[in-house]
Symmetry: C2
Subunit: 339 residues, 2 copies
Amino acid sequence: MKLATLKDGTRDGRLVVVSRDLTRYAEAGQVAHTLQFALDHWQQVAPALIQIAERLEAGNEPNLPFREQEAASPLPRAYQWADGSAYVNHVELVRKARNAPMPQSFWTDPLMYQGGSDGFLCPHAPILLADEAYGLDMEGEIAVIVDDVPMGASYEQALKAIRLIMLVNDISLRELIPSELAKGFGFFQSKPASAFSPVAVTPDELGEAWERGKVHLPLLVSLNGKPFGRANAGVDMTFDFGALIVHAAKTRNLVAGTIIGSGTVSNKQDGGFGKPIDQGGNGFSCIAEIRMIETILHGVAHTPYMTFGDRVQIEMRDQKGHSIFGAIDQVVTPKIKTS
Amino acid sequence: MKLATLKDGTRDGRLVVVSRDLTRYAEAGQVAHTLQFALDHWQQVAPALIQIAERLEAGNEPNLPFREQEAASPLPRAYQWADGSAYVNHVELVRKARNAPMPQSFWTDPLMYQGGSDGFLCPHAPILLADEAYGLDMEGEIAVIVDDVPMGASYEQALKAIRLIMLVNDISLRELIPSELAKGFGFFQSKPASAFSPVAVTPDELGEAWERGKVHLPLLVSLNGKPFGRANAGVDMTFDFGALIVHAAKTRNLVAGTIIGSGTVSNKQDGGFGKPIDQGGNGFSCIAEIRMIETILHGVAHTPYMTFGDRVQIEMRDQKGHSIFGAIDQVVTPKIKTS
């Protein structure tokens, strides 16, 4: 089943069921008016939503054309957004670029930060930026939405609680990160609102590509229309989503609708940290990685962060080349000061 | 106006209007069924809620006895909980206890972390703890709930966006903090669910005690029935709530219902870091502070963190001695492993 939230002027938008090929949608309001409502009552409402999806595929449900531009993030606002850093290659690279050794424990104890969840950008919304000097970067990631997870949940409980899968652009303001992290309390200003893919899908939609909490498909990231990354999300993921959820739930319950992110998808290649696509590599899911490799190789980074007018697209295609989640497609745009 | 949320088996509870003396409540469901709904539509619904409050005070509104035990946190779950550390005395003490110099910038650039907001404890709920070795501590704080705040908001915009004020117990697992902060991504497992006071009040309810984003009253913290802290929340607050909101909104919008916390209320005394109440001081709003002072004075902390059966109460009284927000009243209780 594929679900989306259409913008309708309300804070939570309107839940719809989307056809597998992303061309049509059917209303779901009779079952659940918002995705959060559906997640709050999943056991009760999921069967009825699945029926709508089946009728839509069979051509037996009233429907309208689905346009990604009309979609909000599946959860336009959420009660929790906790983002891991499951691709330890990415973390190793960050450390290496600044000559800081990576603790061995990073291979067994996941990094995770609490992100802001009160408002997400629409998948095709501009990224409003007040100052290019903030060093805006995209981060292509996978995320899951979970049902209620009790404190101290086991790995199997965690895996079973995964209801939906999406893509994320975890927008980062790189030049604000060092001073913010140096303060010791983690990210805040350096992680503005994220954007999620137009469509969230149940794990069964991924078929064999979904296996034990990993998505075994390349994450396609483009920068200004050119392929920038195609790292496989199932490769080098040190902590699968089951492990990330267990980590998040160690000392507290997670409430239905909690979003857990994978962190930047990142592959090792040829025994090294990764190579650009135009050099035959899998490229990168964020600009920071290529800058770190440039720093390691040449002592200085020359690829700039995103500036006004730059465009990022993040997508994932199935074995047949069909888009699974629709595309995140955003242009960096000056924020005009209004106050 | 004083508002509370009664537990009713739903995730968001039921909004009620509470009398100034906290003895009676009137239903508000005809106007707004939940506090989040009221915040989502504040301009439209606040006048009607104020009318209910006025009729309740005048004895002209059907009402029932208000019992704090029946209250959830005013927002049982929220879209954002961002907690500052506005009492820099507290931060200075933390640093001094581990012989780390405090950067000068800490006096001008607020510390703030993104807390988990998907589920808050009820004000009289037990604090379920899996392991006493986690080092459970209370943190008595003030918090405000804001309306929508645009990215880049000014200080005056920020102050005007404050809708409600509450107390918080920002529960911390002290022994998990050092290794978690060392990872660089801030708090996660070390900050389990917080609890808020039974009642949230509009700023006017504080009269002259509310001034330019500060609450000029002592925060009363008791441990096992004995006074432990009475630090004045209006004293030594380096960053008032206006400044904290400006900080939070620097790179993103804040959505209505966002909760901003003050951090542990903490007063300097006699030119020093603070003194226990039984030595004539204002005491402390968390155990960590007295442990840090013990460490500074004697090289070792001897006051233990909270263990099973320990009880914390957090309250604030007006000039006449009447409770303003009701009391947070929680007992540390073993979490039985169910998985």
